[in-house]
Symmetry: C2
């Protein structure tokens, strides 16, 4: 793994919502069962959260919170899940995922085996809300110091 080029250094790695020097926010488009899924990706190639300075950690978590709040406000999910794993791609990134009681794995984490298939119409309706959510998020980040 360590000799392969890092995919999070290579490109945005998602639909770009906002970018600033420390991090970017992208919507994840390759996890079809979970469309309301964003990542806050630190631009520097560091592996662990504790590799950031205290001030950087605060800024990154406030970005995570801004995404979480937008998901809660706009989509009323059952729960928001936050995770920084990076076992496959050891480049610091936070997953921010809206979870719904009818999604493929709920209440298990999205990495557990699927236990149901979500109603396609429900998934399509959720998908249709995301461009407006992206735009609302971009505006919220524009107002974040």
């Amino acid at each position: 793994m360590s000799t392969a080029p890092c995919p999070l250094c290579h490109d945005d790695a998602g639909l770009l919502v906002h970018r600033r020097p420390l991090y970017r926010v992208v919507r994840v488009t390759d996890t079809l069962a979970h469309p309301a899924f964003y990542r806050v990706i630190v631009n520097a190639h560091v592996a662990e959260f504790s590799a950031l300075s205290a001030a950087e950690r605060v800024a990154v978590m406030e970005a995570v919170v801004l995404v979480e709040q937008a998901l809660l406000r706009e989509l009323s999910p059952t729960k928001v899940n936050l995770a920084s794993l990076g076992n496959v791609v050891p480049h610091l990134h936070w997953h921010v995922i809206a979870r719904f009681a009818d999604d493929a794995q709920f209440p298990a984490p999205i990495w557990a085996p699927a236990v149901r298939e979500r109603e396609p119409a429900r998934l399509a309706a959720l998908q249709a809300q995301l461009p407006a959510l992206d735009a609302a998020l971009a505006r919220a980040f524009d107002h974040l110091p």
Copy 2:
């Protein structure tokens, strides 16, 4: 789920390492494949990270970082995984998990199906390091403002 008493309100929910008014830190002892697993549990019964004030979020994440740093320093894991999920128990808690290339799911998250069984001697050696890690962590928290 909402009518059952909350297990994270009911007791420590792990081996207590440190407690302060905002949160407690426990070692998780019921996930046998992953012994180097701690939780930072917010004492108040709130579900989402964004339900905390900005100052509380900083304090909680600095606790998460203190645990992460101790895991990195004492155990040299392949990666540390951080997650706040709470789908089953919607009471805010952070998982801080040392991951190793030979553990049951690596590089997948610990919630994915196991792909191997870890060498029992390796698991026992790791387990043997944990009381000293608990003590080092307790001292580190005693020095945290």
